[in-house]
């Protein structure tokens, strides 16, 4: 293979561990505005950069989000992306996975030729794992989800390992195609200070809905283009309290086994 042109989709997400619930109000508490790049997307980026290092070519980092998502793209540039594009516009906000994948597909059409698209398996905020497959369908290209290894890269095909519940499949897919990758595919590198400084000064293209309107219908962007609506957000229900067994270890073990026998769980 002579030069791989890859597009990597990245999303900036709230750092999930910071999301806690106020027990009295039952609402989300967030201290400050801590955000991070979706960790799975860093695996996607790492894989794309490694392919570039091996075969030559180019990596384009693509993100959609508010202006502050620029920091995710700077991180991508520091890690090894050559070009960064941010889709940012009020008209793109409030998008569900269908509108998001449509908008990303529009941007990719505008970017032009590519061999591969890499996405993380899912994001840590929404956890839907839908945008990758929906994007492939919008672009009319084949995809392989849950890729944990790229085994072979041919001129016009890839052979990859796809994780399934009980093991994995070895799958052959033609190029161009889209892959969603798992955390097992690689260990993402940390950018050096020098790379970070270089990325700080690099240009990030910002495209608005108008910039995409020559290739797409604006009515399919953002909230307007989203068929689903979140109508309620609440704390998961409290569980009912069980029984606490007491005694020394011997007694405890005996009581517990007796309970399990009573319930027919020990045969």
């Amino acid at each position: 293979m002579d030069g791989v042109r890859t597009i990597v989709c990245l999303k900036q997400v709230p750092a999930t561990q910071e999301v806690k619930i106020d027990p009295e109000r039952g609402t989300l508490i967030r201290e400050g505005i801590e955000v991070e790049t979706n960790p799975f997307d860093l695996n996607a980026l790492e894989e794309a950069v490694r392919l570039k290092e091996r075969f030559g070519g180019e990596v384009v980092a693509l993100s959609m989000g508010p202006p502050q998502a620029e920091s995710t793209l700077r991180e991508a540039l520091a890690i090894g992306a050559d070009e960064a594009i941010l889709l940012s516009d009020r008209a793109l906000a409030g998008a569900d996975t269908l509108a998001t994948s449509y908008t990303l597909a529009c941007a990719i059409r505008k970017i032009g030729e590519f061999d591969l698209i890499f996405c993380g398996e899912k994001t840590t905020d929404g956890d839907t794992a839908q945008v990758g497959p929906e994007l492939a369908e919008n672009l009319g290209i084949p995809f392989v989800p849950y890729v944990r290894k790229i085994e072979e890269i041919g001129d016009r095909h890839l052979i990859v390992h796809r994780e399934i519940e009980e093991g994995f499949q070895v799958v052959q897919v033609p190029i161009p195609c889209l892959l969603t990758v798992t955390k097992d595919i690689n260990e993402p590198r940390l950018p050096s200070l020098k790379d970070k400084l270089r990325a700080k000064k690099a240009e990030i293209k910002v495209w608005t809905a108008d910039d995409l309107s020559d290739v797409c219908e604006k009515g399919r962007f953002g909230l307007e283009g989203s068929p689903t609506r979140v109508i309620k957000v609440e704390t998961p229900p409290e569980p009912s309290k069980g029984e606490i067994l007491e005694g020394d270890p011997k007694e405890l073990a005996k009581k517990l086994v007796e309970k399990l026998i009573e319930l027919g769980l020990v045969r």
């Binding site: 989300l28 967030r30 929906e134 849950y146 609440e234 270890p249």
Partner: protein, 395 residues
């Protein structure tokens, strides 16, 4: 025109609930009123639920309506692996039947594979009114391309109002392809499903690592699509006298077929998701070899060993044994949590187990809130005692 989030100033008391609720930090209080930074707001709507005064609203642009009345009934997609029906299918039939009965409409099941025709009557006995069978060589292994084509064909033939698929790794990859093709809404990994008076599917799913539950609707597009989390719904019971229609469908011409499965490598004997008894270890386990203790207990009970994320991350147990939001969801008859504190993420993967036993030194561990039986103590003392007693019983 895009939507906007608006503050109704007369109603806003400046309590700040929305400020702390906003996951993106886009709301501030200015002169005692909530003020939204529009360049930052993602229109996620979390603040709307947090506001007790009803002072926030999402305005949407007018949109065209599709004729929803043409769509009727519930459709579920049966899942098979290597020629055997996967149990998620029975869970889909259970919830699908419930929704169809509430709507007073039909439940259709789509059965796809090679030599699978023989299963159709069984799906009727489990609650389907109609089974559409797509039987073909190319459909032997579940692959997105040909499967999406036949499911879209089934949707066009039946025009269901609701389309449910398994929240398995296959279903979660396949459903988005269909949703994108049909340009409809899809909600991932639902843990609760209901219908309202207007026939809208009310979909509940965890978000933000299980910290919150979100309720989602798809009012204007049909079919309303959802994947259903495995092991959350009950399994449909068999009714030997149930009758239904079985239709052998023609395979659509020009079936897409771009990916090839060269080989399938099975690494797991019994999947942890199908185990009836699980003995799981977490942060209280001191060394990787100590899992042998849990293994011994599991063997005596006829179960398998599971693990929480931190021990899997340390490499002490394989990923396939990880229980939790980023691992497997399980619903065994018995789940014994040894030295597991009970993070939200772990609980999301096992709290629907029929009986939960928690063994933990820390009496304030969250796992105790979910346990039917809580044992406050050292697992290194209690588990060996249990093993001793069980061995005596077996003798």
């Amino acid at each position: 025109m895009a939507g906007t989030l608006r503050v109704i100033e007369e109603k806003c008391t400046g309590c700040g609930a929305c400020v702390s609720a906003c996951p993106y930090g886009c709301i501030t209080l200015v002169e005692g009123k909530a003020t939204i930074d529009e360049s930052c707001c993602q229109l996620c709507g979390v603040c709307i639920s947090a506001c007790t005064e009803g002072a926030l609203e999402l305005s949407e642009a007018a949109k065209e309506f599709e004729d929803k009345s043409k769509y009727k009934g519930v459709m579920v997609v049966a899942e098979q692996r290597r020629g055997k029906i996967h149990r998620i299918t029975y869970e889909l039939l259970w919830i699908g039947r419930k929704l169809a009965d509430k709507l007073g409409e039909e439940l259709t099941c789509v059965l796809i594979g090679k030599d699978v025709r023989k299963y159709a009557e069984g799906l009727v006995r489990k609650g389907a009114d109609k089974v559409l069978v797509y039987d073909d060589e190319r459909l032997e292994i579940l692959r997105e391309d040909p499967y999406a084509d036949v499911i879209v064909d089934a949707v066009k033939a039946e025009m269901p109002s609701i389309l449910l698929m398994g929240g398995t790794s296959f279903g979660r990859a396949l459903a988005p392809v269909i949703a994108a093709r049909l340009k409809t809404g899809l909600t991932a990994d639902c843990t609760g499903l209901d219908v309202d008076e207007e026939g809208n599917l009310i979909q509940t799913r965890p978000a933000y690592g299980g910290n919150i539950m979100a309720t989602i609707v798809c009012r204007e597009r049909r079919p309303q699509m959802a994947t259903v989390r495995y092991k959350v719904m009950k399994e449909a019971e068999e009714d030997p006298n149930r009758e239904g229609l079985v239709m052998e469908m023609d395979i659509p011409s020009n079936l897409r077929d771009r990916t090839k499965v060269l080989k399938e490598v099975i690494e797991e004997g019994q999947s942890i998701e199908d185990a009836e008894i699980i003995v799981a270890g977490g942060g209280g386990i001191r060394a990787p070899e100590d899992f042998r203790l849990l293994e011994e207990l599991a063997n005596l009970l006829g179960g398998v060993v599971g693990a929480s994320r931190n021990v899997v991350d340390k490499g002490w147990m394989p990923k396939s044994r990880q229980v939790g939001l980023s691992g497997k969801t399980v619903r065994p008859k018995l789940y014994i949590a040894c030295g597991i504190s009970g993070s939200v993420q772990h609980l999301a993967g096992m709290k629907n187990s029929e009986v939960i036993v928690a063994i933990n030194k820390d009496p304030s561990a969250r796992i105790f809130d979910y346990a039917r039986f809580g044992v406050v103590g050292d697992l290194y003392e209690i588990v060996p005692e249990m093993i001793k007693i069980l061995k005596e019983i077996k003798r």
